[in-house]
Symmetry: C3
Subunit: 362 residues, 3 copies
C-alpha cells in the first residue's frame, strides 16, 4: 500500500503516469464519474484549510465516491487524548482512503505507518504539502506541454514559502530547467536549497530583487505572498511590498505565452486587473487541483488504468532505515506522541534527519 | 446564467413556473431522485444557520446530487484574507451551484458577479433571505390554492422582520390581496414599505395593535417573534409580549381554513397546544422549504422541465446600470472588499441605492 | 415506528436478530451497498463525538444512503432558543432517520416523542450510549460465538463508566455468565447495579482490586480508562494507575482465546505492545461498530430482511405509563425545555424514575 507524504514520494516515472492521468481526467472528467463508487474518503483536518479540503471532497465526489470527516479540531473530539496512530486505525474502519491536515510536522507520516488505508498528507505544519506541488506541476504541464526546458521565476517569500521549496525540488528532477529567484534580501531562497538541490542538478539560476527586471523571458512566473510578519523592520516591508505586486504594467514586460501561477489565497500581491489576462493561470490551477487529486485517489486506491506503483514510497524506504534517539523539534508529532521505533535517517547529503519532520539530529 | 439574490429576482411568470414545479415535486418527490446525479452543491455558510443549510443539503440529496462546503466561518479558513470574489471563483471549480450565507449585506451578489456557477443568497446579514420567501409562497399556495385574493395578517416584529418585508413585496405582485399589520407601536411596519409597496399596488391594509381583534377573517396568519432586545423599555416588552402569543383561545377566533405560518425557530410566540391544530402550517412549511429549494436548484441549473429563464435577474439588470461612489454602510460587503465598478442605481422611486446592500446613497 | 434510546430497548429476541444481521453484514458488506439508496441520515451532534459520528456516517454511506447534519453545537444555530422537540420536527422534513448526541440527559428520548422519523441515541450526557453496547455485544459474539456462558472481567472505572453499566445490564439477560469487577476501592461498581441487576439474575460475581489476579480464566476482558479527576486523592491515583494498565506481562496470564475490548479512545491504560497480540479486539470493535450501526439503521427503517419489531420499545412502553411532577435533575432535558406530560414511572424495583433521565423522584 502506498501513501503520499512527501512531494518526492513518487518517482519521476510514477509522477509522469499520475500527471498523464490528470490530463486525461481534465479532458474528459465525465469518464471517471463512477470510478470510486462505494469508496469513502475521510478528510481529517486537525486545522481548517477550506480550499484544500473542498478540493479533495470535490475530487472524491467527481469520482462517484463519498466523503466523511471533520473540518477542524474544534468541532472534533479526536484531539482529546487520542494519538494520531490510534485515530487512523479507527478511521481505517470507516473509510477507504484518508487526507490528513495537521498542525504538527510528520503527523501524516505517523498516521501512514499505522494505517490500513492510503494516507495523503494535506499539509503538516510548515513542513510539506505535496498535493499543492502536484497541482502546480499539472498546471505547468497543461499550459506549456512539458515540465522540462522551462525558465521559471519564483517571486515573493522564498525563504519560508514551502510551496516554492517543494516545486524547486520537483522541477529539479527534469532536464534543462532554469530558475530565477525574485525576492527581497530578507526573504531569499535558503542556501541549503541552492547547495543541496539546485547546484547538484546543474540548474542555471539567478537571484534578483526586482520583479520587473526578471519578467522578460520567463515561461512560468510563480507568485507567492509576502507576509508583513516575516519582516523584522516594518518600514522595510512598506518600502518593498509594491515591488512584488504583479500588475498590468509588469505583465506587459512578460512573454505572450508565459503562465502566472499562485498557490492562493492571494491578498493583494496580484492586482485584480491581471485576472482577465489570458496568462493568469491561478484560477485554472484550482481546477487542476481537483483533477490531480482525482488522479491521486485513483492511483493510491489501485484504480488507475496504468500499471502498479512501487511497493513503498521513497520517503517510506528511507524511514525504514532510521535509527537513533527521539526528535527535539517541538513542532514534531513525535514530541506529542510516544514513538517506539528509531527516528533518524541520513538524507542525500549524509545529514541525519528525523523521519517525520526532517529536522537535523541535534 | 441566473442567480437568486433578491426575493424579487424572478418575474411573476418565472416564479409561477418555479412554484408549480415545487408543487409537482411535493406531490411526487421520488420522480426527481436522479435529476441532479453527478451535480454538486456548495454550502458556503460564513455564519451558522443550520435549518437553512440542512434544507439546502436535503434538497440536493433528494435530487441525487451531492454536497460539500462549510457550516461556519470558525471551521473555515476562507475568511482569512481571501475576498468573496476570489472564493467563489475557486468554488466554481469545485461545485455546480452554491448557496451562500454571509454576515455582510450584498456578499452573495458580489459572489454572483464573479461566479461561473449559479449563486443562491441563503441570507446576507439583515438584508435578504429569498428562499424563505419562496418557502412562504409555496406554503400559502398549497394551503389556499392561490397567491391572490387573500387576506393576510402579519403579526409580531414588523419593523425589523425581513421575512415579513420580503413577503409583503412578493404578495403585492398578486391581485386582490389585503394586508393586516399586527404589532406593538414600537415595531410597526416601516413607512417606506407602506408608501413604496403597499399603496402603489392599491392594496387595502390596516394597522392594528391586537392579535385578537384581527383574527376573525384572516386567510393567512404570518407569525414572527418579538425580541426583547428590540424594546427600549423592558417594562413595555413585559406588558406586551402576551398579546402577541398565539394560543388556542385566539385560534378559536380564526376561520376554519386559515393557515398559520412562521419562519421558525419559534420560541414561545406560538403555544405548544397550537401545534396539533390542523391550521398550524409551520412544520409543513419546513417541508415545503425543501421542495421549493429542489425546484430552485433544478431551475438555476437549467434542468427544470419548463422553459428557460430570462438571461438576467431583475436585480442584475438593475445593477448593470449602476454609477457612482463607494457605499458607506459599514455592514456592506463593498466596505470589506475593494470594488472596481460603480455602485449606485436608482430604485423604483428614483432613490439611488447601493447595488449590493440597497442602502441609500449618503 | 421504533427508536433506540436505551440499551435495553430491544427484547433479547429482537437483539438476536439485529446482531445476526450485523454478523451477516460483517461477512458480506457489499451485499448491502444499495440497501438505503435515496435515504438520508441526520447526525445531530450537539457536542462533538467524532468517532461515534463517523461510525454512523460510514454505516449510512456503506448502505448507499447519504448524510447531513452538524458535528458540534458551536457550528450550529440549533441551540439558539429552539427546543429539541421543534428541531426534530424540522429534521423529520429533511431526513429519514436521525442520530442524536446531546449533553443533556433524556434529550434523544424527548426528540423521539416528537419525531416523525426513527431517532437513535448517540449518547446523552452521562446517561446512555446504546450503540456502544451493541458494538460491544457484536464483538463478543464474533470473537466467542455466543453471549452466554462467558466469564467477563470489567476493569477500570466501574463507578462512573456508563459503557460498563450498560454492558452489565445487557449481558445479565443471557444465561450462565459470570462477572469479575476489577477496580480500585474508590471506583467500585455501584451497589445498585449489583442489587438490582446482577443478583436478581443469579449471576456469580467477584469484586477484586488487582487485574493480575483476575486474568487467569477470563473469556472477555473489558478495559476502561481511569480518569485522574475521579480521585479525591491525587497520590492515590498515582499509586494505583499502574495496576490497571494492561501490558504484555499481564497478557501472558490470560487465556489464549480471551478477547480484550475497550470502548476507545484509550490513553495509556493499554500498552502499545498489546496492540499486536491477536487477543486485542479493540480496533476490530471499531469496525464492528460500523456493521452493527448498519444493521440498526436497516432495522429501524424497516428494511431488515427478518421480521418486524414490536410496535414500541421497552422504554417507550414504560414512558407511556408515567405520572407526576417535573424532574429536578439539573442535567435533564426537561429542565431546559417545558414538558407538558407526566414524567415519573416506577422501575423494575418500584422506584419512581424520570422517564427521560432515570433519576429518582426526589
Amino acid at each position: 500500500m502506498r501513501h503520499l507524504i512527501d512531494p518526492l514520494d513518487f518517482t519521476v516515472e510514477e509522477l509522469d503516469r499520475l500527471l498523464r492521468l490528470g490530463e486525461d481526467i481534465r479532458r474528459e472528467p465525465g469518464a471517471y464519474s463512477e470510478s470510486c463508487k462505494g469508496k469513502k474518503l475521510a478528510t481529517l483536518f486537525y486545522e481548517p484549510s477550506t480550499r484544500t479540503r473542498l478540493s479533495f471532497e470535490a475530487a472524491m465526489l467527481n469520482l462517484g465516491g463519498s466523503v466523511l470527516g471533520f473540518p477542524s479540531a474544534n468541532v472534533s473530539s479526536v484531539s482529546k487524548g487520542e494519538s494520531v496512530a490510534d485515530t487512523i486505525r479507527i478511521v481505517s474502519c470507516y473509510a477507504d482512503i484518508a487526507a490528513m491536515r495537521h498542525p504538527l510536522e510528520g503527523a501524516p507520516m505517523r498516521a501512514a505507518r499505522f494505517s490500513r488505508i492510503p494516507v495523503i498528507n494535506a499539509g503538516d505544519g510548515g513542513h510539506q504539502h505535496p498535493t499543492q506541488t502536484l497541482t502546480d506541476l499539472l498546471t505547468i504541464l497543461t499550459r506549456r506541454g512539458r515540465l522540462s526546458h522551462l525558465k521559471i521565476g519564483f517571486c515573493g517569500d522564498l525563504k519560508y514559502g514551502r510551496t516554492v521549496h517543494s516545486l524547486v525540488n520537483a522541477l529539479a528532477r527534469y532536464e534543462g530547467n532554469e530558475f530565477v529567484f525574485i525576492s527581497p534580501e530578507e526573504l531569499r531562497v535558503p542556501g541549503h536549497l541552492i547547495e543541496n538541490v539546485v547546484k547538484p542538478a546543474h540548474i542555471p539560476y539567478a537571484e534578483v530583487t526586482g520583479l520587473e527586471e526578471a519578467m522578460a523571458d520567463l515561461d512560468i512566473l510563480y507568485m507567492t505572498r509576502i507576509q508583513k510578519e516575516r519582516f523584522t523592520d516594518a518600514g522595510e516591508y512598506e518600502r518593498l511590498k509594491g515591488s512584488y505586486v504583479l500588475d498590468m504594467p509588469k505583465m506587459v514586460l512578460g512573454k505572450a505565452d508565459m503562465a502566472v501561477l499562485h498557490p492562493l489565497p492571494r491578498v493583494n500581491e496580484i492586482a485584480l486587473a491581471v485576472d482577465d489576462d489570458p496568462r493568469a493561470a491561478y484560477f485554472e490551477q484550482a481546477q487542476n487541483g481537483v483533477y490531480v487529486r482525482m488522479a491521486l485517489i485513483l492511483t493510491l486506491l489501485g484504480l488507475a488504468p496504468s500499471g502498479p506503483l512501487a511497493e513503498q514510497a521513497l520517503s517510506a524506504q528511507r524511514a525504514a532505515e532510521a535509527t537513533g534517539a527521539p526528535c527535539r523539534n517541538p513542532r514534531c508529532i513525535t514530541v506529542a506522541e510516544e514513538e517506539l521505533v528509531p527516528l533518524y535517517v541520513p538524507d542525500a547529503h549524509g545529514v541525519p534527519r528525523c523521519v517525520y519532520c526532517e529536522h537535523k539530529m541535534p
